[in-house]
Amino acid sequence: MGNHALSYGAMLGRAQVIAAYPITPQTQVVELLSEMCADKTLDAKFIKVESEHSAMAACLGASLAGARTFTATSAQGLALMHELLHWASGGRLPVVMGNINRAMAPGWSIWSDQNDSLSQRDTGWIQFYCSNNQEVLDTVIQAFKVSEKLLIPSMVILDAFTLSHTYEVVDVPEQAKVDKFLPPFKPEITITPDDPHAFGGLTGPEHYFELRYKLQKDMEKAPALIEETGKEYEKMFGRYLGQVEEHCCDDAELILVTSGTMGSTARVAVDMLREEGIKVGNLRIKVFRPFPFEKVRNIFKNTKKVAVIDRNISYGHHGMFFQEVKSAMYGFDHDLPIFGFIAGLGGRDITPSTFREIVEFSLEKNKPEEEIIWIGVNR
């Protein structure tokens, strides 16, 4: 299942310290990992912490000591870690975390919704959104490589149940080949009595700015590095990831912008609509942070309309992918109509007919009359 793909990714990536706390729908990730640690398939220390906040704290400590670390969580757990997410990026600790996109309470929901991970978009983590099990496994391995090169943490995000709990056939690469692709983590600076430093002390206005400037500058290197790493991986394993997945975008008059599993549903819908002669395409964003500005601007050059589908909303504003797409296009193509749809919150199903509705709506109107177009809400 998708969750197990995360576990296999961590195992093949030779994670050395894992600290995690159970939360539906992530539990299978850590259950399989504890089995792997117990029977020595994975040589790692598994700290069975008492909360997600402690899980991230333990990972940070271990990462600072120079170990490769991995954890996984969801919704409430991710929110509980929030303080430490800032710590990981500011401390330049390359933790890799699996996050299962789950709706934020109240009321208690265990179903798919992107608000949890998108609420963390400002914390300085690289965010990968996956849509199938193979992609999950491949992304975790590449995430270790990218994170450790830049010293910026990353999260690999799956939809609750539609990805975390669905079973698919996955090609599990050989450990020896993965070892060639991903060498051991050997940071230059670690916490050790042989070279004592105090990490993270009181930092005044005369220094903080430069430290954060450096973080942003390194984040800006990520798009190129992700592409390069993707090509390397393709050479060795035959599969390419990259920052986005384009489907029929070259001659599309309307491009859908999606992410996660609804991105694969969109692909199916696009194929269906193409058969009916509608020139629609799908752009599935795989890397949300850092936002793929260049790719998006390039792909939209020849299209007439864009429809962004968000499985999330920033209250008092709009869907977050919509905000980011619009801001990417500002200054590049003011006349391009961009429609912002909100669908599937709290796990409400997004089907090919949802996309049909979205496409018909967008093709009918010349430009969006409302900032938010709600799809599937019982009004």
């Binding site: 500011g90 330049r92 010293l151 430093h197 105090a198 990490f199 993270g200 220094h207 430290l211």
Partner: protein
């Protein structure tokens, strides 16, 4: 014996010199905390019984042992008075700093 250590202030001329993660690259010896005090300890060596208690109870490690005697490092002594208070032979006087 007092160990000799380098004390210098660190200035980064540009972001390129700033370490990647906030980490220390020097010690605090440049911070001359002796400037904090109003009164200073003065040891009367005639009555000093060389017990080492003043050295033991200094929170700033500002008393060191040299030639079997306690020596106050006035560069760092904050004038808290613990040495004088704890001295069993009462041979340390806290004297006002002259301006």
């Amino acid at each position: 014996m007092k160990k000799e250590k380098q004390a210098k202030e660190i200035i980064f001329k540009s972001e390129k010199e700033v370490p990647l993660m906030p980490m220390s690259v020097g010690n605090m010896l440049w911070n001359k905390t002796g400037g904090w005090r109003n009164i200073r300890p003065v040891i009367d060596f005639e009555n000093c019984i060389q017990c080492g208690i003043c050295w033991k109870f200094c929170p700033d490690a500002a008393i060191y042992i040299e030639n079997e005697r306690p020596v106050v490092d006035y560069v760092y002594c904050k004038g808290c008075g613990l040495c004088a208070e704890e001295c069993p032979s009462k041979c340390i006087a806290m004297v006002e700093e002259e301006k």
